[in-house]
């Protein structure tokens, strides 16, 4: 195979952090090359340099033997480099063809473009109607719009940033078939992920990054997932310990919960029912945007429902607000840290007060006990190893992972009887994620009923006793984790969302 792209000694530093240090690797034509690393390992910075979004401080790149220095994405695209981002840049109120046209330098007439979209989508087994409104598409279908937008440019190198985070296992299979077909036609694919099994299934070669440096190159098929994980993290990982737990009475019961979404383009909850007993962890999976945020709001009390729809220890709580539910023993940690779980411009002391005031008694007759609030903030920082110069710094000054530890720690430190967490380890490095999972399991062992909503299936399978999935605002029946297959999980998450595909003949 001939070499397509060679990256030599790329270095990029930001104030206070070296994102990439002397990174070198090469991709051949038609190769599927994985870029593997934890959050913050420097994967994004590296591909942004290749795509012309960020300029390297030093180092060089060559594309097909020619020096390659894209100053902006348009130049990268002209050179044959295309990228599908993790977060889509699509207009919901426009249709597919219009969205594709917006990303092109010289879009052809709309009718011609529509027929080209249809042709490409059939050729690669990605069925897509050019006339449909993007706002009506599922996350998987939106990703197809982005992929087709790239394919229309006939790229030599396709960069995919964490493409499977919005897909069900079945949709992942379809995507992989498409990617294999693309690579079979000679287009190289740079595949970014931290999901090891995927990389083993798809990629020919992997470059592993840790703290901005290349620590290893390997052929994924010849390695176990565990070996790659340890290369990626740099330490030997220990899975969280699960002590045998005695399961008690039902602590949280949700019965026929139906509420409209307060979020624009949100998903209404439809007849959601489940029960969690003391000492039990219920894992709720689902592709992003299938009602996870709404479920958290309905459980935390920010979104009210029929009185009997939510019961805590048997008491009707559906029509009660967050503080009444806290008094009843329920704590919640929303997914969005800045602006929802924490106020960005307020100090950690104020943020500790924010949700801790009720259960930790941080106010007397409405007057705040600032000394107690500060002590509580210090306790969280110490117990959960939050790296911060002090408790009086603004929440926004903390890194995402540290703020996550603070938010989760704040909720877990309130001796709760019911815990609801959305995306507990989102954007957190492996060591901190393991600590958070352990803390959740410890609370369960102490008798708390826990609901973990997550898009990370591995995480759910690791800590949950029972499993359910949200799909279009409906919750699947609850099943014990033991004995569940990935196929079954995929079907619970909605299968292919009705997008059965023709990968026939390939």
């Amino acid at each position: 195979m001939t070499e397509l792209l060679r990256v030599e000694g790329l270095t990029k530093a930001y104030p206070g952090v070296v994102a990439n240090s002397d990174v070198s690797f090469a991709i051949s034509e038609g190769e599927v090359h994985a870029l593997l690393g934890e959050n913050g390992a420097g994967k994004s910075t590296l591909v942004k340099m290749i795509y012309g979004l960020v300029r390297p401080d030093s180092g060089s790149m060559t594309l097909r033997g020619q020096p390659y220095q894209p100053a902006k994405p348009a130049e990268a695209r002209r050179a044959g480099v295309a990228m599908v981002f993790q977060h889509f840049s699509l207009f919901e109120a426009l249709n597919v063809a219009e969205n594709v046209a917006l990303g092109m330098e010289n879009p052809p007439p709309m009718r011609e473009l529509a027929s080209r979209i249809r042709a490409v989508s059939e050729e690669y087994g990605l069925p897509l109607d050019p006339a449909r409104m993007v706002g009506d598409l599922s996350a998987g279908e939106r990703q197809r719009v982005e992929i087709i937008r790239c394919l229309l440019q006939d790229p030599k190198l396709l960069i995919m940033d964490e493409p499977t985070s919005v897909l069900t296992p079945q949709e992942v299979d379809i995507l992989f078939k498409t990617l294999r077909q693309i690579s079979g036609e000679g287009t190289a694919i740079l595949y970014i992920s931290h999901k090891l099994e995927e990389i083993r299934a798809l990629c020919d070669e992997a470059t592993i990054l840790r703290r901005g440096k290349v620590v290893a190159t390997c052929i994924p098929r010849e390695q176990t997932a565990r070996e790659m994980a340890e290369l990626m993290v740099g330490t030997v990982l220990t899975p969280p310990a699960r002590s045998g737990r005695a399961k008690g009475a039902v602590a949280l019961e949700v019965q026929g919960l139906s509420v409209a979404s307060p979020i624009p383009f949100g998903t209404a909850l439809k007849e959601v029912s489940f029960a969690v007993r003391k000492g039990e962890v219920l894992g709720i999976a689902g592709v992003a945007g299938n009602g996870q945020d709404e479920l958290l709001l309905a459980l935390s009390g920010e979104l009210k429902s029929a009185p009997g729809a939510v019961r805590i220890d048997g008491a009707e709580m559906g029509n009660k607000g967050p503080n009444d539910r806290r008094r009843a023993g329920l704590v919640a940690a929303p997914e969005k840290r800045l602006g929802h779980a924490a106020a960005p411009d307020m100090s950690l002391v104020e943020n500790a007060l924010l949700s801790g005031v009720v259960r930790r008694g941080l106010a007397h007759r409405g007057f705040i006990d600032w000394a107690a609030a500060e002590a509580f903030a210090r306790e969280i920082v110490q117990t959960f190893d939050v790296r911060t110069p002090g408790v009086h710094v603004a929440a926004r000054a903390l890194s995402g992972g540290n703020l996550q530890k603070f938010v989760v720690g704040r909720e877990l430190s309130q001796s709760p009887s019911v815990i609801v967490i959305n995306q507990p380890t989102w954007g957190v490095d492996a060591a901190a994620a393991a600590a958070i999972r352990q803390a959740i399991l410890d609370r369960a062992a102490a008798g708390a009923a826990v609901v973990v909503i997550s898009q990370d299936l591995d995480e759910l399978l690791e800590i949950a006793d029972d499993f359910a999935a949200l799909n279009g605002g409906r919750l699947s029946p609850t099943r014990p984790v033991e004995g569940l297959t990935v196929d079954e999980i995929g079907l619970m998450m909605g299968g292919t969302h009705g997008m059965e595909v023709a990968h026939h003949g390939h």
Binding site: R55, A71, K72, S300, G301, E302, G321, P322, N323, R326, A332, P334, K336, G339, H340, A341, A342, A343, P344, D345, M346, E350, L353, L354, S355, V357, V358, A363, G366, F367, I368, W370, V393, A394, R396, A397
Partner: protein, 361 residues
């Protein structure tokens, strides 16, 4: 190239220093404006900021005016600042101030000529109620029908002004006034008057109330959970809902308090410095208090100083009109500059300015 870089934490220094910088910049820009108008800029600035307090000829008259003018500004601004912190924009304090004055005056005049010590407190309560009720209109419309409180409260100012004219010409007109518009002079009726407490200081009950409001506002924002919730709702509305703050209750509270304080300011004014309900009773305190609230960084102690400074520019501005024949529009532009520079320097709290070479695109 100048570049703004977000600070990791808000700067405590600039939070305090930016109002001073704004005042200095206003003096410079205002001086240039006065110079363009053909006046000596140094003399104009001195007339506005120095003469009202220290000029041998005018100070004896204008110094007491400082408290008289500052008190309603501070009282109203304290109420407004709570709402502004919570993201509730009451622009109609002027209307609430007028309605407070009408309610208060009407309550007193209803029992005229009875003499009782209870009348003045009763008038205060009636005035507070009037301002509160007027503020409840946008509050209820906002919480029930999601109307925009900025528009509703502002438009109600014009309604209040018409009611004021109607009252001055009709129901509250002095029956012994020979048909002239305007009510009886309340400041000359002992049971209703809000007199100067110590001659030559300008001190009256409204000043006392303003100081009390500063203290209460400070305690509320620093020590009380409600004050914390107000700040939280303004900075991060979703986090506030997560913390169990009810947005509707906050709207009612903030508009209610600001209406109540504006109403009180109206009664103090109509029973003291203004003396009567007249067509031109409304003097713009309710609007100027918006500037005072921001000039004081929405902080009660800051508002105290901002109110005094603003009163000074009023008095000094009048003096400058009189002494240097500066047009009144120039004085208003000068006050507008103050707000402009204040908002502009505000950015230094959360951003630092960096001189840097433009990063290659």
């Amino acid at each position: 190239m100048l570049r703004l870089e977000k600070r990791p934490s808000p700067s405590a220094f600039w939070q305090k220093a930016s109002p001073f910088l704004a005042v200095i910049l206003t003096m410079i820009a205002g001086g240039i404006m006065f110079w363009i108008l053909g006046k000596n800029p140094v003399e104009a600035i001195r007339t506005i900021f120095w003469d009202p307090l220290f000029n041998a000829q005018f100070a004896s008259y204008s110094r007491p005016q400082l408290l008289v003018k500052a008190a309603p500004l501070i009282l109203i601004a304290i109420g407004l600042s709570l709402g502004f912190r919570a993201g509730v924009w009451n622009i109609g304090a002027e209307g609430q101030y007028i309605m407070g004055a009408i309610f208060g005056a009407a309550a007193g005049l209803a029992v005229y000529p009875v003499e009782s010590r209870l009348i003045f407190p009763a008038m205060l309560m009636a005035g507070a109620l009037g301002g509160w009720l007027w503020a409840m209109i946008p509050a209820v419309l906002k919480t029930v029908f999601r109307t925009n409180e900025i528009l509703v409260s502002l438009l109600l100012v014009y309604v209040a002004q018409n009611i004021l004219a109607m009252m001055a010409l009709g129901a509250l007109r002095n029956p012994d006034g020979g048909g002239f518009p305007g009510s009886r002079n309340l400041s000359q009726i002992p049971a209703m008057a809000n007199p100067e407490m110590v001659a030559g200081t300008g001190m009256h009950w409204g000043v006392v109330a303003a100081f009390m409001a500063v203290i209460a506002g400070h305690v509320l924002l620093q020590r009380h959970l409600l004050g914390f919730q107000i700040k939280l709702a303004g900075q991060a509305p979703r986090a506030a809902r997560f913390a169990g703050v009810s947005p509707a209750r906050l709207v009612i509270f903030c508009l209610g308090v600001s209406g109540l304080l504006a109403g009180l300011a109206g009664v103090f004014e109509v029973t003291g410095p203004a003396g009567q309900i007249s067509i031109d009773f409304a003097s713009g305190y309710g609007f100027t208090a918006i500037i005072v609230a921001f000039l004081g960084r929405l902080n009660p102690v800051g508002i105290l100083f901002a109110g005094l400074l603003m009163a000074l520019t009023y008095i000094g501005g009048e003096l400058a009109q009189f002494m240097l024949s500066l047009p009144s529009a120039a004085i208003q532009a000068f006050q507008g500059m103050l707000l402009f520079f204040l908002l502009a320097t505000d950015i230094l709290t959360n951003y630092r300015i960096r001189l840097s070479q433009r990063e290659a695109a």
